[in-house]
């Protein structure tokens, strides 16, 4: 049973990893914490769920979810980053999260909606462990995303501009980085990831509610800090570690101990190493 719990931990962890990656992009590059990110994921999940239950195909659902999430991310970028002044950005993203969550409860109500996932019975059995199609897909996508993003950030021109912006905003502007373009693209990218994560969440948890994104969002934020800002790889690994820690504490201690384990871990990191395990970004401290 222990090994199966580890597998459960990895699967839950990769959900946190996916969202943590989209968090760390925005925070790493623009030093802005988008607390509405969880709710954007929910939008993706709900849209995909609606399309699937209306008989649409999986690719159609995935495409629609990504489209909606990118649109919402750009909305957040405009109303919560570009317009308001520096220190009120935190407040505006929280307000945006509140708006989105209540729109979902308004439209879809507060019940959980069954997510018609992959119907293929395909599964791999390794000794006692069993991975069904959804779980394999999730692991593949998480790994692919972590590698792709790390390459993007380290190798591509856009990645270099993102890193320049995250190191020193004024220096970046002076050396010709088009701040506006990079900001919008970073948000669009995080929207893309949120869209994919939304569909994955639906498949893994087999049902979606208006509150799905919120619960994953809090944990993803923890993973992002522990993993290290601006490092997709770090966020990914930390997300998975967090998933395992949570599943084991729920499995062996009981559900009420779940937060007790996760949040002190975060505070320890914030205190000792705010830049996280793989943190590249220079962390602004007192």
């Amino acid at each position: 049973m222990f090994s199966q719990q580890i597998v459960n931990g990895i699967l839950l962890g990769s959900m946190y990893a996916l969202l943590a990656i989209s968090y760390t992009l925005v925070l790493g590059v623009l030093n802005m914490l988008n607390l509405a990110q969880g709710e954007i994921l929910t939008a993706g999940a709900l849209v995909a769920c609606a399309i699937l239950s209306a008989g649409g195909s999986m690719p159609a659902a995935l495409f629609a979810s990504v489209l909606v999430c990118i649109a919402l991310s750009l909305l957040v970028e405009f109303f919560c980053l570009r317009l308001p002044r520096g220190d009120t950005q935190v407040v505006t993203t929280i307000a945006m999260g509140m708006i989105l969550q209540n729109v979902y409860t308004g439209l879809w109500g507060s019940e959980s909606i069954k997510f018609r996932g992959l119907s293929s019975g395909f599964a791999i059995r390794i000794s006692t462990l069993e991975f069904n199609a959804t779980q394999i897909l999730l692991l593949a996508i998480t790994a692919a995303l972590m590698i792709a993003l790390s390459l993007l950030i380290d190798r591509s021109r856009f990645g270099r501009e993102m890193r320049a912006l995250s190191d020193n905003r004024t220096a970046a502007r002076v050396s010709g980085v088009n701040i506006g373009r990079v900001t919008v693209l970073t948000f669009a990218l995080s929207g893309l990831i949120a869209g994919i994560s939304g569909v994955m969440a639906g498949m893994v948890f087999t049902s979606v509610t208006a509150f799905t994104g919120g619960t994953i969002g809090d944990k993803a934020m923890v993973a992002m800090v522990i993993g290290g800002t601006g490092s997709a790889f770090g966020a990914g690994i930390a997300g998975i570690i967090l998933g395992i820690v949570e599943i084991l504490s729920v499995g062996y201690l009981g559900a009420e101990y779940r937060e007790i384990v996760v949040f002190p871990l975060l505070i320890l990191f914030l205190w000792l190493r705010p830049s996280g395990i793989f943190g590249k970004g220079r962390v602004e401290r007192a």
Binding site: L27, N31, M32, L33, F79, C80, L83, P84, R85, D87, T88, V90, V91, T92, I94, A95, M96, M98, I99, Q101, N102, V103, T105, G106, D218, M221, V222, V225, E256, Y257, R258, E259, I260, F263, P264, L266, I267, L270, W271, P274, V283, E284, R285, A286
Partner: protein
């Protein structure tokens, strides 16, 4: 005053205390989105003292506030190392930790919450609120108030001028936490039932929004913000399901139009 308006008035007073607790910390340049955690400590300690140990309500609210102040100092010291976004994450996770502790312990009633507190007199809540406002008003007139403003403006330059920056920052956190503790104690004895989910992250943000909305550099700003935040939900009751959506849109609109809040004038030192 009939029953409904007294209920609303008390909610207003508690919202004022909550807003002021964020105001005091924000005044020293630190934004804390975790004051619901201090409020929880204040509420639970006061609740337990008055139900299990039979302490008088005002005394237990004061004790709850002291316990919250202690937490404020404990959070304030590591907070020195964090700025902006990281302080927000740190304070959010502090509240989450307090919530999970309250959920596990038996003395706090776990997930079922703490009940049986007797009703606090409205007069006592008024006294606490007026006391806090008066103290803050006077404190801002003193030279320490000036130090706080300097630290918020530029902590390095303030240090170079001899201001004890670390003392001021930790003091602000402690004071803010104490005020949130009072709010928690009053809330616990007014609704006579508290549970961990009463102190969620969204409650913390509901404590921050009034200060940013009303005006973060004037006590009057925080009080006005609290008034707007008490009356708005009652006004929007007709919109039931879409109430919170309008609420959120309003907040974003005001923050963009009036970044300094409704009252943004500076107060001069006599």
């Amino acid at each position: 005053m009939n029953v409904y308006y007294t209920g609303l008035f008390v909610t207003f007073l508690i919202n004022v205390l909550c807003a002021l607790s964020v105001y005091v910390i924000l005044k020293s340049g630190q934004i804390s989105v975790g004051n619901a955690g201090f409020m929880a400590v204040g509420g639970y300690v006061a609740g337990i003292l008055s139900t299990v140990y039979g302490l008088g309500i005002p005394a237990s609210v004061a004790a709850g506030s002291a316990a919250a102040a202690l937490c404020g100092a404990v959070v304030g010291i590591p907070a020195l190392r964090l700025k902006g976004t990281y302080l927000v994450i740190g304070t959010i996770s502090f509240t989450a930790m307090i919530r999970s502790i309250a959920q596990v312990l038996d003395i706090t009633g776990g997930a079922m919450g703490l009940k049986g507190m007797k009703r606090i007199g409205i007069l006592w809540i008024v006294i606490f609120a007026v006391l806090v406002i008066a103290l803050l008003f006077l404190f801002e007139k003193t030279r320490y108030g000036l130090d706080v403003e300097a630290v918020a403006a530029d902590s390095e330059a303030a240090a170079a001028a001899g201001v004890r920056v670390i003392l001021i920052k930790v003091l602000s956190f402690t004071l803010g936490a104490a005020i949130a503790g009072i709010a928690g104690g009053c809330y616990a004895h007014w609704t006579q039932y508290i549970e961990p989910s009463d102190f969620s992250t969204s409650v913390s943000t509901m404590m921050v929004l009034p200060v940013i909305l009303g005006g973060r550099n004037r006590i009057a700003g925080a009080v006005l913000g609290a008034a707007v935040f008490t009356i708005l939900p009652e006004l929007l009751r007709f919109a039931s399901v879409w109430r919170m959506v309008i609420y959120g849109v309003l907040v974003i609109a005001i923050v963009i139009v009036k970044p300094d809040g409704l009252i943004s004038g500076r107060k001069r030192h006599a």
